[in-house]
Each structure stands twice: as structure tokens, then as C-alpha cells.
Symmetry: C2
Subunit: 112 residues, 2 copies
């Protein structure tokens, strides 16, 4: 087995968001992302080929979805299933400490 800890190996300074791939397979990728006040650049939207299930492990963030211009305020323990092609952006993350995300990217399920 492989082990790790989401709260470890976070650098003291974080000029950019930090992304670590924890699991990488043909159909699946699990990432830890650490933000410290970071947000998506103005006008930028994520538009992904994969479905993404994302958990806010620590901190706080605002996630905006283009469709319906919906802004989700994420707090610890909240999770969101973002479908492939669903345009979204990180509007803000807490500047009071680290925001830790767990992102599970997986092949869009045709059968849904």
C-alpha cells in the first residue's frame, strides 16, 4: 500500500496553487490542490473532458458556474460533482490560511 497525508508537504511560500497527483490511472486521477488566496484568472473558465468530483477538505472557497451564473460558497466537508464540459472557475479562496481540495477526475459515465 502507499500512504500519505493531505496536510503535509505544503511549502511555506506558495506563489502559485500547488497540485500533487496522488493517484494516476487510465480512468482516474486523484489530486490534492492547495490554494492560499488564489483564484482563477479573470475571464478564465475550466472546461474539462473528465467529470470531476471535488471535496473541500480545509479552508473556504467560492466556485462559480457559468450556467445560471451560480456561485457556490464551499466550506469544509462540502463536495461538488462537476460534469465534463461544465464551465466553472474558482472565484476566490480564503486568504486566512490554506484551502485544501481533493479532486477526483474520472471518465464521464455515458450511462448516466
Amino acid at each position: 500500500m502507499d500512504t500519505g497525508n493531505l496536510f503535509q508537504h505544503i511549502p511555506a511560500t506558495l506563489p502559485d496553487e500547488l497540485t500533487d497527483t496522488l493517484v494516476s490511472g487510465r480512468q482516474l486521477r486523484i489530486e490534492r490542490i492547495v490554494s492560499r488566496g488564489h483564484a482563477s484568472p479573470p475571464g478564465f473558465w475550466y472546461e474539462q473532458d473528465s467529470d470531476e468530483w471535488v471535496l473541500l477538505v480545509k479552508g473556504e472557497a467560492g466556485l462559480r458556474f457559468e450556467s445560471g451564473d451560480r456561485l457556490l460558497h464551499l466550506t469544509e466537508g462540502m463536495h461538488v460533482h462537476i460534469r465534463a464540459g461544465e464551465r466553472h472557475r474558482v472565484e476566490w479562496t480564503s486568504d486566512a490560511g490554506d484551502t485544501i481540495w481533493l479532486a477526483v477526475f474520472h471518465e464521464a459515465d455515458q450511462a448516466r
Copy 2:
């Protein structure tokens, strides 16, 4: 998008471990498991067809692996990648509160 919160919808009494499926696809299943002092029955071992990546979100637990008789003490933020067929059991979970696991079951990757 679908949303939820790992810390919500936990019953006041928990005679058995509680398992909720958060994502279910052909190649992937994500579960939240809540334990409150629960452990695997004496002599029982999990032996799964899928790989399981598991995160200890809250609480504390002991996870035993048959191979090498290794006992892992899991605290918040720790994650373990358990391969298909790797026999393991939950030796104990904290009786001081809820222990919340996030389990990502996925098809074993032949290419590893």
C-alpha cells in the same frame, strides 16, 4: 452539478457503520463511511476486486494489513492506497466521536 457535505446527515445513533454512495459509475465508486467505535468482526478480512484509495477525513482509526501484519494508525488527512486483493481490516476506530472515511473504489490498473 450535485453537491453534498461529508459532515451532514449523520444519525444520532449508529448501531452499524454507515455507508453512503456519493458517486457510482462503471469504473468508480465514491463512498462516505461513518464509524463510531466500530471495527471489523474478529477474523474478518476485506479482500476486494477493486483498488481502494481511502482518506481519513475525521477521527482516528487502526487499519491492519495481513501482509507483514502491519498496523497503520490513521489520523486526519492520512490516505492509503489499498490494492485489489490486499487483505486488510479495520482494527479499531475512535470511540470519542465520529470517524469519517472517504473511499474511492476504482478498477485495478493493469498498467501499473
